[in-house]
Amino acid sequence: MKRLAGRGRINQDRTISFTWDGRAMSAHPGDTVASVLLANGIRVLGSSVLMNRPRGVVTDTMSDPNAFGQIGTGESSEPLMRLTQVEVYEGLTAMSRIHKGVLPTGTDTGRFEKRHAHCDVLVAGAGPAGLAAALAAAEAGARVLLVDEHPHLGGSLLGEDVVIDDRPAHLWVAEVEQRLRDNPAVTILTRTTVFNVGDQGAIALMQRVSEHLPEAKRRGRALRRMWQVRTHELVVATGATERPLVFPNNDRPGVMLAAGVRGYLHRYGLVPERAVVFTTNDDAYRTVLDLINAGVDVTRVVDVRPDPQGWLPRRARELGVEVRGGSVVMDTTAAADGALAGVVVAPLGGGETELITCDVLAVSGGWDPLFDLHHYLGGTARWDEQLLAFVQDNVVAGQRVTGAAAGIFGTTACRRDGHLIGLVAAEATGFGSATSGPAAPEAADVTEQAPADFVRVAAVDGDESHSFVDHHRDVTMAGIERALNSGITNVEHLKRYTLVGTGTEQGRTAKVNAGRLAADHFDLDFHMIGVSNARPPSQPVTFGSFAGRALGARFDPVRTTAIHSWHVAHGAVFEDVGQWKRPWFFPQGTEDMDAAVLRECAAVREGVGMMDASTLGKIDLRGKDVGVFLDRLYTGTMGTLKVGRARYGVMCKADGMVFDDGVVLRVAEDNFVATTTTGGAAGVLDWMEDFLQTEWPDLDVWLTSVTEQWATVAVVGPQVRTVMSTLAPELDVTQDSFKFMQVEDAVVAGMPARVARISFSGELAFEINVPTTSGLAMWEAVFAAGEPYGITPYGTEAMHVLRAEKGYFIVGQETDGTVTPLDLGLDWMIADKEFVGRRSLRRTDMLREDRKQLVGILPVDPNDRLPEGAQLIETAEYEIPVAMIGHVTSSYESAAMGRTFGLALVRGGRSRIGETIYAPLLDRTVAVELVDPIIFDAEGTRRDG
């Protein structure tokens, strides 16, 4: 195409340059990549996805099925960008990759942001209907958010030569825009696409903030911004898109949509040398008239209708254009590069053919309202026999469709409908009254002659393999027929089988034709067949946009204890437990993990160790009924606990499966503190709160999470009393004065502390609890006091080994939601009273003797450590498939026993103690002896030191 001086909404006084496939292109501010390519004589953009056919620009809107390309270079490069939307800027690099992009593999350096907003009326689309709706709603008093994907307001008016109120349309647009911008309750977002509509007015927008600017000017600005808007009312004013026609070789570069041709004229000042127009309707004659007006040779209008007599065809004839009714384009010819050279015209139904030379064939098969947003919440559509188009069929609450999207064509009618819809939407949100609002614009559009119901020109030789229904996916008439002949009768199946309507373009120009051709094939009414459903997102949205700034350290919160800095300074290797960072082990020198854990375990069993237990969940319970409450939740009794005492407890869900465990401390008559597992704390609090609020609101119990208010230092090992005496000379820690499960408030290292004798290792142990702010000081004091005795900080791995030696299970390691307290051998903890889940423990399935039960395992080879999760079977020799009778839940090397050991869940395991079963691994089969879970210090003598 060629550029006309002084035409188009671009600045022809300034020239900018960018590269296309490495070639320098000359452009003007306001151009898109697509318009520049046309202006620079690049008709062939690339080759099609399956058949390698040369393809070119089809139209000037989002609906173009071919105009895609790779934009940018390096890590910020993006594939499959719409060239009809990408605005050129100095230095832009674009590459011809129309159907298949290249994904950068590194880190995206672009900045993405998110924003939340609320409004009363969100108007999607700023064409004549959307502008009128936004203005009416705003002037009625509603907060309005007006969204449009173009850089400028006006919608279809940008690409038309239309007069509104006796002046050019752009002056009307400018006036409305000014009134909207002067209204503080209005927000206008251009370069913004509505990509999803959710329940209760949740609208998702993607705003292109700076990607249209040269890199140097983007500094500090987001590339894109995702908006999450909550609106009361949604007005869908997304316009319509022109439908192509199906005929042999209808995909040659130069075959364009008629409205696209006049769009390129009015928006970018681009015109063909010599055009032919092929139409089923009057609207395409607007292209004819505008081209003539611009001095273009419109050689022929090929109209399917036998006798086009509307005012537009008549006007075209008056201007000397040869309008041939009852005729069709039956084929096209190509130049050397594959682009259009001419069209073959013939009477409809056969007759003498004629070859006409042209560089552009402007096609119109009618108009399809675009109302995808209406479909996202279950909106339906019906085929309108007068319009020959789909229009909305039902009403979706909180949504209204207006303008061309509602099948209302003509600028005046769109303004009038938009105005009324704007008033109704405002009224629905409590502003103004639709019946008494300001009057709608007067004057009617001139009526047009009815369009022809026509989709396709059959190939004369019967070869339909070059008649394209979906250019984007290379679906031809032959492909559609093959699918329909194979028995497909449903458009959704047709879509999946042929890929029609799939891909980045989502079939805006293909879906309706595909459905109509299917209906024709079966000789059914079209409404029996329909079109495949539109689903969000309406446009591709990059992952970076969803991530926003929640990347790296901001991806997920990290919780650290008051003592974290000490752990870091002392070389701890950390383990993630939920969001907590816990020291896993503290390697010394060149120690590996195994060596470090063995050393830490030995220190606890032989001397004294210390660990940071601050992450354990702590729930403070107050009120006169706490005892009753806890008795209903724990399998054991808690109400009988004396002040200053602690008790271990297990909780089940209603299904009888172990849910969480921990020690409960009674610190006052009406004040308990329940500890939970680190990962389970939030869930336990929620669960307790649920029962209190919904089942037992009569109980006087108040819950507070105090996990982060307390730091806990566990001091563990046979030498712990010596360390405690140094730390708290006034506290009597002898066995008679400070018994197991006793709780004392005391001054430790000069700090007020709550000390409890709780052990998760089987060793004599004290847990020193202090306010979080004193946590680090207490830890350092304990370390200093213990140093003469070689006190050893240990991490979660050593803790796990020590507790496993004692057969203590861990929720989430030995249990997985299918394990009851009975399976764990906790029969002694089931008190004779009602508690949540108790009834489940005597369900038939719970009484089965072959349930998986907790046992200890000793590999016959004491140096062989099994992987956790290893399956267990009956025999050493086996053939796959083989019955699994259990699995290894924990497996470690024990410093105290000088051998490997583990815990396992094994079918009927408790009655099989002493037997040998096998763990089949990839490289070996390991014999293991089943033993009691308490492998070390079965008598429990170490607990009291």
């Binding site: 959710g198 329940d199 209760q200 007015g201 949740a202 999450q228 909550r230 919440l377 279950g378 609450a397 209603a654 299904d655 929620d686 709160e689 649920d690 029962f691 609020q693 919904t694 089942e695 609101p697 009602e834 949540v836 108790r838 009834r839 489940s840 369900r843 038939t844």
Partner: protein
């Protein structure tokens, strides 16, 4: 993303809430008196109907209160919400 009306705090976005399943399923007063079948029905069987459905929500990132919502499971219309102790007819 739903918008849910917390009866204590007002309308808020769904991420602030935690779902709690069908409403008005009380923990049996005396579970020991129930047959295995009755107990199993309480544990595992819930309505899964199309249309208006009473369900529990917890304003977990807000006031932490549990309350009930009437939601249309076919259209996701939030018909109304009401506090524990109020009747479904009181939903607003």
């Amino acid at each position: 993303m739903f918008q849910i009306r917390c009866p204590y705090c007002g309308p808020r976005d769904e991420p602030e809430f935690k779902y709690g399943g069908q409403a008005h399923v009380a923990y049996p007063a005396d579970p020991e008196q129930l047959s295995d079948e009755e107990w199993t029905r309480f544990l595992f069987v819930r309505d899964n109907s199309r249309g208006r459905y009473a369900e529990r929500w917890n304003h977990a990132a807000g006031c932490r209160r549990w309350f009930n919502v009437i939601r249309d499971t076919g259209t996701h219309e939030m018909v109304g919400s009401y506090r524990s102790g109020e009747r479904p007819e009181d939903a607003r």
